[in-house]
């Protein structure tokens, strides 16, 4: 609750309050602006990357003619063209639609995804009054305690990860209300599918993180990032490999993209947003790309060390006795860039997945979620808890935890995944035995 008190104190209009309010606004801008920008860039990235993967030229049509030259900026102008098109298109509302739900749905699809970014740290503390000095971690911490440092996180909540799940869970309302309010059978099916899928995968999504959270011992995203730190052996993807893979799969399912895009499935049911047009549809679209950013940011924070860069300490790069001293501002900037770089890299990965795989079927998706991923994530939680108990009761160094986790992962692979793999191969061999009659 101290956070809430701070916020209320800010509204008490005393001197400290003004500063706090201004700081909050700056934080909001620092965090939300890149998110919005990134979302727009992702729409371009999706087109561009898809065209590379498919041997096409990609977006080239939108252009500005300056002095007889058509400037297309690699297709980046399509962002503007899209925006203009959305705004100027006719906004059609089906006459029998439930007006309230129809209008509410796009807002409910977009707003929760934006809100979750308030707890995600894009960097550590920035001691602004000592920006040109080389500061150690302890010094930065001290400045943070005295309030001389600026926190690169909109809001520091002790229940941070829970807030993320609470709000991302609200996203389901957007899709299901759109389906319910549109007065269209296809949209209704889409909405129902969305509700079922997102509720199911929310469970897996939560459980996959529990393993990691047990290790970190905190729910606060900044603390999670700091626990992982500059030591790559402590990063979530190393200490929780199974959790990381399952989390990514479940998160893609949450963001409703291929291979999990059954609520949309444009070739079979067209989707829950079927009756939407113009900017309302555009808001769904924005929500979808925002989720792309959100999945990347979540994964980066929990499993890829957040804003931390390997070997980059608060006072510069250190490897053994070598030390490359860097001023504080450079460290902070590198860390922020690293965070967004990780997010973009994960976006790249998600887009690559989207343009490679076919779509799953509804029942297969449910089976994968409840029978496939849920038990594995539960087992992951259990194994993590046992390992953690062993490590703490024997006072072993948590820096060596990665050895244990890799052993466990190898074991799981050999016992569970590998037999499945051979089974699949046998299936294929059986199918390849298609007999063909030879030439006469």
């Amino acid at each position: 609750m101290p956070e809430m008190q701070q916020i209320f104190a800010g509204i008490a209009w005393n001197d400290g309050g003004w500063i706090e309010l201004a700081a909050t606004l700056i934080r909001a801008v620092i965090i939300v602006l890149p998110v919005i920008l990134l979302m727009a860039v992702y729409t371009w990235m999706e087109r561009r990357q898809a065209s590379f993967m498919q041997d096409r030229i990609g977006p080239t049509r939108a252009n500005i003619a300056i002095a007889g030259k058509n400037i297309t900026l690699f297709g980046l102008l399509h962002l503007m063209a899209d925006g203009l098109k959305f705004v100027f298109k006719e906004d059609i509302v089906p006459s029998k639609a439930n007006k309230l739900l129809f209008f509410l749905a796009p807002i409910l699809a977009l707003a929760p995804v934006v809100i979750v970014f308030v707890v995600i740290p894009v960097g550590g503390f920035f001691a602004y009054s000592h920006w040109d000095q080389v500061l150690t971690a302890d010094q930065v911490k001290a400045y943070a305690m005295t309030g001389d440092a600026f926190r690169l996180q909109a809001s520091q909540l002790e229940i941070g990860v829970l807030v993320i799940f609470a709000f991302s869970g609200l996203g389901v309302f957007g899709a299901s209300l759109a389906g319910y309010g549109s007065h269209n059978k296809w949209a209704l099916i889409g909405g129902l599918r969305a509700a079922a899928q997102m509720v199911s995968y929310e469970v897996t999504l939560g459980l996959t993180v529990v393993g990691a959270l047990l290790l970190y011992g905190t729910l606060e995203p900044m603390a999670i990032a700091n626990w992982q730190g500059h030591n790559i052996a402590r990063w979530g993807i190393v200490v929780q490999p199974i959790g990381a893979i399952l989390f990514l799969a479940a998160a893609i399912a949450e963001s409703k993209r291929i291979p999990f895009d059954i609520p949309e499935g444009e070739s079979e049911i067209i989707g829950y947003n079927l009756e939407y047009s113009g900017m309302r549809w555009g808001i769904f679209f924005m929500g979808e790309y925002m989720e792309l950013v959100f999945v990347g940011a979540m994964f980066a924070t929990i499993f890829l060390g957040g804003f931390h860069v390997p070997l980059l300490h608060a006072d510069g790069f250190r490897l053994g006795s070598h030390h490359l001293a860097m001023p504080h501002i450079a460290v902070v900037l590198v860390q922020m860039l690293a965070f967004w770089g990780k997010v973009v890299l994960l976006g790249f990965l998600q887009i690559a997945i989207r343009w490679t795989l076919p779509r799953m079927r509804y029942d297969q998706l449910m089976r994968l979620g409840w029978i496939g991923m849920l038990p594995v994530s539960l087992a992951n939680v259990m194994v993590t808890a046992i390992l953690l108990l062993v490590f703490t009761s024997y006072n072993w160094n948590m820096g060596n935890y990665w050895i244990a986790s890799l052993l466990v992962t190898l074991l799981v692979y050999l016992l569970v995944v590998a037999p499945q793999q051979t089974k699949t191969d046998e299936d294929n061999v059986a199918h390849d035995e298609a007999h063909s009659h030879g030439s006469h």
Binding site: I258, G265, E268, M360, R361, A434, S436
Partner: protein
Amino acid sequence: MTPNSEQLAIQERVALPTETMTIMMGPVHPAMHGTVRVVVTVDGERIVHADVQVGYLHRGFEKECEGVTWGQVFPYTDRLNYVSPILNNVGYAMAVEKLLGVEVPERAEYIRVISGELSRVGDHLTCIAAIAMEMGAFSIFLYCVRARDEVYDRLEELTGARVTHAYCRVGGVKDDTPDGWLEKVRAGFGEITGVIDDIDGLLTKNRIFLDRTQGVGVVSTADAISSGFTGPVGRASGIDYDVRKDHPYGVYDRIDFDVPVMDAGDTFCRYYVRMEEVRQSLRIIDQAIDQIEPGPVKAVGAHRVVLPSKNETYNTIEGMIRHFKLTVDGIQVPEGEAYSYIEGGNGELGFYCVADGSGVPVKVRCRPPCFIVTGQLGNMLVGHTLADVVPIFGSLNMIGGECDR
């Protein structure tokens, strides 16, 4: 085949009382091409009844043919299966040649085989592309289109058109191949096999794709035979029948190729049979290019059937009169009737022609392979989920032009 709708309904009702919903799938639906409607009754996601309604692309092909000369029918046949028009051309030409008793020169037969197999490659690639795209694998669709463009480029060089070629003539083909065209065809194999291998890698062992296709839309061998299935769909259900092999026409008896047959009869088999047939078609083209010899491409001495050369038309009075009579009155086909059939892109493509001795057909009836296959779609769908409609339908390669005629 699949549990029938009543049993299914009873099972479901016992478990949980539910209400069914009837949905009009198509003709305005992205997967229905605007040419077919499936009225599906679903219980949740499960289909309890499916009513397939065709006819949205009915253009009266058979009636139209009764108003034009025999030679003018060719452009109409292009628009039957517009994915592999040359095969339709060949099928129709063979029926008329059977009535006339005209001998087609060897070179023309080889050109028909080469261009026809190219068309078949295009047809199968389109179908594979559709199956993949309707499951959301859009990249694979575009890979197929890239390979199909190779086919279209070659056919454009040969015929002057990319889609509606109207290349065959009664008694031969329109023109000889352009210089170096045959070598160009062979040089394009790499592109096509490259794409086929890519798709093999991306789909054939893809867990999601296998789950979506294996055991889905199964047609047993017995059902397939009693329904009259032919072509890739029939061969996927275990019917070892290929017109090119079992009733060789043209020069297929001189060419060595295999007919892929699979037993399971599901969507995966229909996909895989087509993949294999593309490879076999390339093998056929390869051999045909080796065997082809220079020579005439129109029936020699059949003055009342084939048009005279431009030189003859403009410089001799006989040539001009022949050209005039053949163009205005049409080929005078002796009274009689004939059925001729070839292996089309989707199966046995038959043409039944009735002639009364005039230049205009009395009746041209087409046996469209995919009409017969589409007739069983409703049965294939029952018991599956709504999401399965699209891949099953895609794997049948229903072409509106051919189905509705």
